[in-house]
Structures are given as structure tokens and as C-alpha cells.
Subunit: 539 residues, 2 copies
């Protein structure tokens, strides 16, 4: 999930403009770049600017002014923006899907048009509903002491979107964008450099919706790329409120260090190998079905999901060999879809090489495929439990793409040992049989896995990430930067971009609407003297 | 609020033992130190060890094992510990108050015995109630998708307590300790070096209560001091779950940097000057009363509260001169209480010197007082708004203790300008008249102040910090490390020490009690399909 870039042309005079302070204007650029079509390997038309610090500075100043105005914006206005934006995305669906397909190589249908775009507009509409209800802000009232607290906007939010969801996690339309806007913050989006055109089309609709809703023009701004130095500078700028980042661990940790040093909350989703433990009873009971289920999940979007199952633990034996043989057959029979970019293909090749260097053996695949396009053979590797434990850190290298590692362990105890070496992950799955023969192993392994993953699954692959209040798309470091938050799911994802604000003895008329005695809409849940209520203070 | 130490004796053989893995045992120490009586300036009996890394390592290993056991502990057991601990503190009140008085110089009554100790036991009991109810964990259930999430223990928590509340914020008994335990985490407390004896007595009661409740012995552990290098190492250790720190900004930021680099949540309360704006109408209406109110608040505990009002903004004019004259008279008439330690007195003198160097003039006070004891004259300084704006950063130096800075501004517009330079603070107060003449100024200034403080007050000094669900004892950086959290107030303070854990398709019997269909106690608030409920899933 790299946000670093593609090929660069210095001094491109005809670059696309950037969206700053409400208008599309020429970038104060230091160069330009273009996207590529990963299905063909060919460059796509359109030069996009690499912004200098001057663009970042303009964006931050405009966002600061917008933040002050947004604080006074009624919820209806913000909700109207989110709704109109969703409608506009739907109205421009054909063009958006074409562009995202060209830039990402992802199928137009069902993936982009029937799944990801509707998910994106669904997120916008869920957020609009959350803004109107207002419960996300957890208004908390102590009537005896006249103390009242509420979550409030944190300030301008930078959103760095990943390469793997050109709509649903796009910095100008996706989950972090929606969460930051819904909490009343202006967003400065940093497009992923692999899909600048998709980001541009989305931003056109976003700024139009801003105008229709009557929000401050600088509520949404878009840059395409900056230098790494400017990236570290902008996250640490005093005007920055917080940062949402989804992308590679290496780039993310550099930005995080800069943000941390300046005391700026940096919400990052970095990497995850998403361990899946298939216990012996489950394998005996339904091994062929599980091989099919795993193969399908591992190849979804060519394995380019944050939650792709990439580390499978199985106990040595005939059933496991049969499982591996079936997986091999299925991977070899499946078509090889293009990866998101040549950079992703190169990184995948390097990661697989790292796994091999540290003892993993290729079962199938293991090489880049010839042109056209950025493709890597569907790949799985294997290593023994002993082999894994000889280099546990290296063998947890994220091979982002259609590759996975099967760890064939000696026994259940060795799984427990391996879990003790497991890094923080977004997800972890346990498969058990239906007759109870795996239950004692589950009881031993679950606590070890539980503490190292954000979402624990039973008998299910981790690739589906529903937009639900109960979702956790997060996990212990280094899968994310903080284990208490999720990037998906409303209201929890919104609370990342909020500051807690208390009003002590503040006169009634001066309180924000959500903290006044009267419930502003009769639907807002508030914690009044320790009890959740949709009523007014005093009955 | 320094946690750095006092005088040191290397190789003290008769040092007090440390509390590790359930037993009091000799420290693997690199030296020792002793406390001083700040009222006399004399050393107090008792050598306390400076732990080597070996002690830290032992503590971390024991805490890791305890964390796994605590995860399975029923809420009743944790609540029983908290309650028994409160009862034991009350039973040993006389000795605790004597010791804390000797080590801190704070009055035995009302402060230590009648206010702080009851506040401490009240926090323990509030936490016990929160544990039994379970609502703090925000169980969230999506019945359609069978997705269920809950906040769960984050892992072993280090608590670094400050010097200014030997009971209520003590690392082994105070707010952070209570929050970390209530969320199911073991605590390793780092005593403040100014009150090791108080920490020792508290720890004796804590470990006895652990035994009575049947919690794992390593649920509570106590070290007195480490090297700075070991401090940075222990916060970053892989076994560490999170850190609660209250203390000086300089020491805190070093620890924060180490924790950040390792991805460990570091909840720090660092420093705050707590701006108070007294608008002209209020001053005209009740200037003498406000001068009295401010003087009393500024001298409370010799100004050694995190929320002491230390930066007062007033518009130039006769009423302001009268206010200053009254404050001067009151400060000079008030007795001078000892500061918490000679280190605090020295730091205060240095901070006042910094303010003077950058243009502030002493109105009264401004010098250390002669023996006996660590005392500094009740002090206030003044500077013009222009003077403040010439060195806004330096003139926000926290002068921890009985000193404050009055900024006499030209007009309301200059207050607005100054607020633009304001660092993040825990609190900010606005005083206005009752007739509405200040209302237009309030409307201009409130948004500027609001965004820079955690708790906004009207017509009230900030020194009282009630333990209420609606309290925010937190604020924007650098007053704390994250603006979304509070260190005081249940349930919010608990959520700092939790990880979000989602269960996806997990079989019913394997779910934690709070996520099963049946509400475990009929009182737990859960967010079920978007609605808060104390009922069961399905009615």
C-alpha cells in the first residue's frame, strides 16, 4: 500500500491544477508525475504536479480559516454536503469507474462499480446520518455540577489515501475523509499517486457539493504529491489538527515520527499479515472446502486488501499436505489479475524474496510475469514451524499482493509459541470443527491471538470489512498506530478526529446545542448523570 | 511537577525493598535516594533504591503473566480489590496523612486528610462501580452481521505519578492507577521520588488488597526510581501496553519520544498555564471579589495544581490597576506555604527569572525565602500585551508554584491576538458581567480560547477538578499528549488504557460476557444496532 510515486517529469508546465482554498489553481510545483495503467504497463495521459511547500502552506492557512467557520456550521449543512457528494459520485459513476479501472487495473464490475463505489456512497450517507443524530460526539452531562463535555472538531485533517481502494479509502472520498468531515474538520487530501485522475474527478464532485451545501470552500482541498521532506513538515505543522494515513509501513513510520514529535495525532493503518489458524479437526472435517475458501480470499483483488490472509498456520500431517496441494491447484488454475502498479509488483517480488531468503519454499508462483501489465504469479510459500521460529520477524514481512505463507507446525504447542512472536495485526482467524474436538486448542490459542489482533474471526476469512458500528478495522501496533481506534465503522471511526471539550459552569445560552438541556433533535444519545438518554435534561 | 529526583546515595545497602511479582524484595539497585521534608528542608529517614534494569525486567515479565490472568478475572474480583484497597487506605489514614505531610509539606487538614485522601478512595469506589456495571467498555453489537466489539485491556501499564498529589495521583493509588486497573491491566507504578514513603505505605495496602481479592500478585508492583535511560527503555519495551505519566514537560517529552517510536500509547499530562480572561464588564461589576477569587485560587496548595490560574488577561485601565493592587495586597498578606520540594522551589525561581528576562515585572514576591523549608514568596508579575507578544512562547513558561503573570492588554482585539499564540492548556476561563455588556467580546474570544483548552469555564477559577463523567482533565498538546482523552472522570479516563477488540462470527459461547446476547448484569449499557440499551440482544 505505497503512496510513494511513479515516474516523474520535472517542470511539467501543463500539469493539472490543485484544489486549494476553494479553487482549482496551478500548483506551485517542483515537478510532475503521471499515472500508469497497470493492466498494460503504459503511462496514462495527464501530468500531475508535485507540490512545493507553498501549496501545503496555502492549504493549511485556508483550512485553518475553514475550521473556524465549520465549528459554527449546523449539522444539517455538513450532512447535506455528505449526501450531495454521494449523489454526485453516483451521477458520475461511469466516468469514475472508467478512470479508476484505468489507474488501478481493478475490474469495473463487480469490484469498482458494484461494490466499491456503492460502499463509498454508503459511507458518506452513514456519516450524514451520524452527523444529523449527533450521538457520535458522546455528549456527557453532570447536572449536579453543571459540567458538560462533548467531542468536538480537532482541526484541519490531512488524509493520505492508499493505493488499493481508489474510491472507498481515497483521501478525498473514503473512510478517513468521511470521518474527518463528519466531525466538523476540513480535509486536505493527499491523493495516492497511483490514481491521481480518480482523485481529481472525486474532488470535482466534492467541491461542487461543498458549494451546494454552503460549507466554507476550503472544507475540501486536494494535493497530488509532495516531497517526503514536505510530508514530514506538513504533518507537524502547528495548523495541522490530525492525520489519517493508510499506506506502507516504511513511509508511514517516517510521517508518524514527525507528527509524534509535534504532538499531532497520527492515525495510521500500516500493514498486516492476518494470521489464519486452521485447527486439525476443522481440516479433517472440511479440508477441501477450506482450501477453496482460503484460495478465494487470498486472491481477492490479487491479495491487495489490508486484511488479506497471508500467514496460515496448519499442523503437519496428511490433511495439511492435501490442503496445500489443493491450494496449489487452485492458485495455478486461477487467472492472474494485474497488480495496482509496477511499484507494487516490484515490492511483492522483493517481499517474496525476503521470505525465501529466510527459509520459505515456493509451493507455486514466485515470479513476475512478462508484459503486458504488472503481474506476479499467484503464489504460496511454505515453511516449517521450526523454520518460522528461526526468523519470525522476517517471515512476517508483508508480501502485499497475491502471495501467502503457509506455516506447517509440529503441534498445537508450536502454534502457541509462534503466536508469542506475532506482531500486531488487523485480523486473526481461528477455524475449528463443529464437533468440539478443536475446542481445547481454541481455549489455549484464542487468548494469545486475541491480544495481537484487532478483529478475531471464527470459521471465516478476514477479507470482508463491513461498514458497521461494531467493526474494528484497526489493531495493535504496527498494524496501526493506536490499538484503541478503528478506521472503519461509524461512530467509532469519527472519534479519532475529535478533541474532548468540557464546559464548566458555562452559561446555558453559550453551550453548544448538544449540551443544552433540551435534546436538540430528540434522537441524540447523551450520557446524562451516568445514564444514556435521548431525552432532555430534567426529563 | 517533576518526577526527577532528590539527593542520591550510591550503593545504599539498607534501602527499602521494591514490590515485584507479589513480594517485597531487595532491589537490584544502582544506588539510593531519600526524601526531604520541604517544610524543614531536612532529609527524611529511609533510603529508597534506584532500580537497575533488572528490576524493570522482572516487573515486566511478572506483569505480562498477570495480564493474561487478569483478562479472565471476573469484574467482581477487580471491583473487590478496588473497594478493599479504599477501605484499607481509610483504615491507615492517620499514618498515611502523617507520611504524606512530612514528604510534601501539604497540610494534614483539610488538604490531605479531609480532601485528597477521601478523593482517592472515592476514585477507587467509583472505579469499582464502573467495573461492575461494565458500560465503560462500550460493548457494540451488530446483530445482522454478528459483529461484536468491546474495549479490552491494553496490557501492562506503567504509571508515573506527579509530585503534587501524593494520594490522588499517586502512581500506586491515583487516577491513572485506578483507570488502568479498572480496565483489567496490571500496573507497574513508578513512585514520585518526592514521596517514596507515601507510595510505600499505599503499596503495602494495595498488595494486601490484591491478596484479599484473589487477583494475580503482580497486578500491582512498585519501583521508586530508575535511571533516565531505563525510563526510556521501559516505556518502549515490547511487554509494555501503555503509559500514564503526570509530571514535568521536559522529562515527559523524552519518555514520550521513546514510547512513540515503539508504538506505545503514552498518556501524559505535562504542563498548563490555565489562562483566565477577565472582561471589562466583569471587572467593573465585581473587581474586588474577582481579585479575591483569583488570589485564593492562585495560592491554593501554593499554586501547585496542574490547573492553577497562572496567566491572567485584563484590559488596561483604572479597574485593572485596582485589581492588581488588591491582588498584591492579598498575596502579601497571605501566609507562604512550603513548596513540595527544594527542586520545585529552584524550578519556580528559574521560571520567574525566565519571565522577568522576557519583560515581565514583579508586582510582588519574586524571591526564594530563607530557611526553614522550601518557600518562595507569593508572587505575581505583570507585562503589557505588547510585551507579551514580543515573547509569547517564553512568557507562557509554566512557573509551577505560587506565581502568576498578569497580562495587561490594550484592548479586546489584543486578547484575540494573544489567544492566537496560546499553547494548548488544560483549562481556560472567561469572566463576563451579568448585564450582557461583555457578551459581544465573549462571542469573539470564546472560539479562540475554546480550541486551545480542554475545559472552558465561565465565571469560575479552574482549580477544582471534580471526579465526574463530564470532567475533562486534558487538553491540546503540549498540556497533554492527546486532545481526545481525560485523565480524570469515569468512564472516559478508563478508555485510555484499552484496546478495541472485535469478534467477527465468533461462536456465542466463546464471546466475552459483555458481548453475549444476554446482558450480563442488566445494567451494562451496550450499543445494539445503533441504540444504547441495558437489555438483552433480541429484547
Amino acid at each position: 500500500m505505497a503512496w510513494s510515486g511513479l515516474s516523474v517529469q520535472v517542470g511539467g508546465m501543463s500539469s493539472h491544477p490543485v484544489l486549494l482554498a476553494g479553487t482549482w489553481r496551478p500548483s506551485q510545483s517542483t515537478g510532475s508525475f503521471h499515472a500508469e495503467n497497470p493492466a498494460t504497463g503504459q503511462p496514462l495521459p495527464g501530468d500531475y504536479p508535485i507540490s512545493s511547500w507553498a501549496d501545503c502552506d496555502t492549504a493549511l492557512t485556508a483550512a485553518t480559516a475553514a475550521a473556524a467557520l465549520l465549528r459554527a456550521a449546523p449539522p444539517e449543512t455538513i450532512a447535506r454536503f455528505l449526501t450531495r457528494y454521494a449523489e454526485r459520485i453516483e451521477a458520475r459513476k461511469t466516468e469514475l469507474v472508467e478512470m479508476a479501472h484505468a489507474e488501478s487495473g481493478l475490474p469495473k464490475a463487480p469490484r469498482l462499480g458494484d461494490v466499491e463505489l456503492p460502499r463509498t456512497t454508503n459511507q458518506l450517507r452513514q456519516a450524514a446520518a451520524a452527523v444529523l443524530e449527533g450521538s457520535w460526539a458522546m455528549p456527557t452531562i453532570d447536572t449536579k455540577l453543571n459540567l458538560r463535555s462533548v467531542l468536538a472538531p480537532i482541526g484541519p485533517v490531512w488524509v493520505f489515501g492508499p493505493n488499493n481502494f481508489p474510491f472507498a479509502f481515497n483521501g478525498i472520498a473514503g473512510g478517513d475523509f468521511v470521518a474527518a468531515i463528519a466531525t466538523g474538520n476540513p480535509v486536505i487530501a493527499k491523493s495516492n499517486t497511483s490514481h491521481p485522475g480518480t482523485s481529481r474527478l472525486l474532488a470535482e464532485e466534492a467541491i461542487a457539493a461543498v458549494g451546494e451545501a454552503g460549507l466554507p470552500p476550503a472544507t475540501v482541498q486536494l494535493l497530488y504529491r509532495t516531497s517526503h521532506a514536505d510530508g514530514e513538515r506538513l504533518v507537524a505543522d502547528p495548523r495541522t489538527g490530525a492525520i489519517g494515513y493508510t499506506g506502507s509501513r516504511s513511509a508511514g513510520l517516517k510521517l508518524k515520527a514527525a507528527a509524534d514529535a509535534a504532538g499531532k495525532p497520527f492515525y495510521a493503518e500500516l500493514s498486516s499479515v492476518n494470521p489464519v489458524i486452521i485447527l486439525p479437526g476443522a481440516l479433517a472435517e472440511r479440508g477441501a472446502k477450506l482450501a477453496e475458501e482460503f484460495s478465494a480470499s487470498a486472491l481477492m483483488a490479487s491479495g491487495q486488501f489490508c486484511t488479506s490472509p497471508s500467514l496460515i498456520l496448519l499442523v503437519a500431517g496428511d490433511a495439511t499436505e492435501q490442503f496445500i496441494a489443493t491450494v496449489k491447484t487452485r492458485l495455478e488454475a486461477a487467472p492472474v489479475a494485474p497488480l495496482l502498479s509496477s511499484a507494487v509488483a516490484r515490492a511483492l517480488a522483493a517481499s517474496v524474496q525476503t521470505l525465501q531468503t529466510h527459509g520459505a519454499q515456493v509451493v507455486t508462483g514466485g515470479q513476475l510475469l512478462p508484459a503486458p501489465g504488472c503481474r506476479y504469479a499467484n503464489t504460496t510459500l511454505r515453511v516449517t514451524g521450526d523454520g518460522f521460529l528461526a526468523a519470525p520477524e522476517k517471515l512476517q514481512t508483508e508480501a502485499f499482493g497475491n502471495a501467502s505463507l503457509l506455516v506447517v507446525v509440529r503441534d498445537i504447542a508450536q502454534i502457541a509459541t509462534i503466536l508469542g512472536h506475532l506482531e500486531g495485526n488487523l485480523t486473526g482467524a481461528l477455524y475449528t470443527d463443529t464437533q468440539g474436538s478443536d475446542d481445547q486448542h481454541y481455549a489455549v490459542l484464542e487468548p494469545l491471538l486475541r491480544s495481537r489482533v484487532g478483529r478475531l474471526l471464527n470459521d471465516k476469512m478476514p477479507t470482508g470489512v463491513a461498514v458497521s458500528p461494531a467493526m474494528n478495522h484497526g489493531g495493535p501496533y504496527p498494524s496501526t498506530s493506536h490499538p484503541g481506534f478503528t478506521a472503519v465503522g461509524i461512530p467509532a471511526a469519527l472519534r479519532r478526529f475529535a478533541a474532548l471539550q468540557c464546559y464548566d459552569n458555562v452559561r446555558a445560552a453559550r453551550l453548544p446545542a448538544g449540551l443544552q438541556d433540551k435534546n436538540p433533535n430528540g434522537k441524540m444519545w447523551r450520557l446524562i448523570d451516568g445514564q444514556w438518554s435521548q431525552g432532555n435534561v430534567g426529563g
